[in-house]
Symmetry: C2
DNA sequence: TCAATATTTCATGAATGGTTGAATGATGGA
DNA sequence: TCCATCATTCAACCATTCATGAAATATTGA
């Protein structure tokens, strides 16, 4: 269950090209995740810029991280992303008739 | 079908307290919509502030408007909101296992 | 046409967000 | 311990967003 302040933070976090890219890459990477270095390399951006955006996503709870030796491995928090979808459907746009159609189209 | 630039604009538009409130109220109002004045009244904010946020939502394509005599009536664009959900599920977080669970929980 | 209502636009200043490069912290190997 | 690597933090700067109140626009009725 997600509340409004968390949903706001999540939307805010997703409202940036680099961060949307990051989420996508981390989702694709799966539970194994990806290191900061690999992500910076893949996106072609500086380490400090990457770190900034990872911190935003992390504070919004959309990603998590663990340290493995010299690397920091990030992974998408699927439950949190799902909770955001749930918030949009349930708490924000309750009863909007087009929603079911939109979900179905995404299948 | 929603593309990335539109999704970014949509997330950006949703990343504000007032605008999230507006979307909710317009969704609840249904196809009939609600006038700018009624919305400003309901939210307790100035007309110019409201107008600014309505313009952001409108540019993101999340709401539409029509003029009725002296009033401007706004309504949520359900298809566009559904498309955003679709983008999140399909194009951004494809295959994330928790998504289906999150959707189910929102039912 | 004049006045009243409803809404948007504009200008200003304050606050927030983002990029950059240098400095710092953490880790592991020689 | 010393050095190299990986990552984060910091400070400075630029750009964007937002709030506010005044002015402008649109519409209707007297």
């Amino acid at each position: 269950m997600m509340e409004r302040p968390e949903a706001l933070a999540a939307f805010s976090a997703l409202a940036h090209e680099v961060r949307l890219d990051l989420i996508r890459r981390l989702v694709v990477a799966g539970p194994e995740g990806a290191s900061a270095g690999a992500l910076a390399n893949g996106l072609g951006i500086s380490a400090s810029r990457l770190s900034f955006h990872l911190a935003v996503l992390s504070q919004a709870g959309l990603i998590g991280s663990r340290r493995v030796s010299r690397h920091v491995i990030y992974r998408a928090d699927g439950a949190r992303i799902a909770a955001l979808l749930g918030y949009l459907m349930h708490d924000c746009c309750c009863g909007l008739p087009d929603l079911r159609a939109g979900i179905a189209a995404a299948d």
